[in-house]
Symmetry: C2
Subunit: 191 residues, 2 copies
DNA sequence: CGTCTTGATGTCAGGGACTGACATCGCCTA
DNA sequence: TAGGCGATGTCAGTCCCTGACATCAAGACG
């Protein structure tokens, strides 16, 4: 239990997910998480802003990848296509990690507070998408709609990927969601 | 300060919004809210599950209206059209209340926890929309996409309505958002 | 080799959200 | 008019989270 064991943050994350899985989020105290990681409750709060955040440190990375992908898209690509491509790139980060994603998502789905935090993170991604689109010249209205719509589809695709037992990757589920939207939009226009 | 003053719940809501506006959400304690309403902290928690919830009791009503509107839509209407119509009906509930909506939204936007809660409420509406669509025969995938997309557009429209200084109602902003989506989808298909 | 700086960690005290258990009050009904 | 009963009050306690200050290990530097 020496003071300077490496990777304190990672140890806290692992301990937290383990405990949340074992006995549930609200029956786990921060003192317990810290203890399992060989640390103190106070130290937990130096690494994470609050108890929920311990499951969401990865979202900053997604954020960066998403913004980068939008910036690199061809200048003449339409907004929704740019969004779709960027989200597929993000989706590819999850390949090979479906079982971890399931574990984490199960913990999140089992608790309202964690669900709240996840939605906030997704909304943050939507805002970043919006800003990235406008930075490349997309008008305000379309950028906002494309960003919000894209994240909505991402959520839908992520859920179906988690639930599915197939060999398709998250990226493919994302592509399918966008295809589905096109059909709906066309059907609605034709009405 | 008699015990049985009427409308305890409403008094708590008013006191809370006033205090949040005056001094901010996290500098307001529940004891203060309760005191201004002539009640006790413990009673606050009998009316609201937590501190955030005091600003969101109206969302249950939106939920009902939304589900009702979907159920009443013509059987042959395409999903996204049903969603648009239902959201416009919800939008009409807000006419005449833009100034209250602004006050409340300002308080929410000023605080991360309240933003979280709002997102959760919207996600709940999306889920309800999804279920209502499937109840009338829409297939699972399209129902989910239409519901998520619809709520995304609602958010976008609500924001622009709050910000706008025009005479257009929320319903009209919603209609505009759906029109915008159609354009985007067509442009993306044509790519 | 010893000291100093620095960042991560520990310790302590305390406020505020939230809960469970139990008491009290006022309206309603038999 | 005595209960029944729902809404409120009181009290004690747990846990989340924070600020202030002390301590420790590692590298910098003389």
């Amino acid at each position: 239990m020496a003071r300077w064991e490496p990777n304190a943050r990672g140890r806290l994350e692992d301990a937290a997910l383990d405990l949340f899985t074992e006995r549930g989020y609200d029956k786990t105290t921060i003192a317990e998480i810290a203890q399992r990681a060989g640390l103190t409750e106070r130290t937990f709060f130096r690494h994470f802003a609050d108890k929920r955040e311990v499951l969401f440190s990865g979202s900053a990375h997604l954020h960066d990848v998403l913004v980068g992908a939008v910036a690199e898209a061809p200048a003449d690509a339409p907004p929704l296509t740019v969004v779709a491509t960027a989200l597929e790139r993000v989706g590819s980060l999850f390949e090979e990690r479906r079982s971890y994603a399931r574990r984490r998502q199960a913990a999140i789905n089992a608790n309202g507070e964690l669900l709240e935090r996840e939605l906030v993170k997704l909304a943050g991604l939507a805002e970043a998408l919006d800003a990235a689109l406008r930075a490349r010249g997309t008008a305000e209205g379309p950028a906002s709609v494309a960003a919000e719509t894209g994240i909505a589809l991402f959520r839908s695709a992520f859920t179906s990927w988690i639930a599915a037992d197939d060999t398709a990757g998250l990226s493919e589920h994302i592509r399918a969601a966008f295809t589905s939207l096109h059909s709906l939009a066309v059907a609605s226009s034709a009405k």
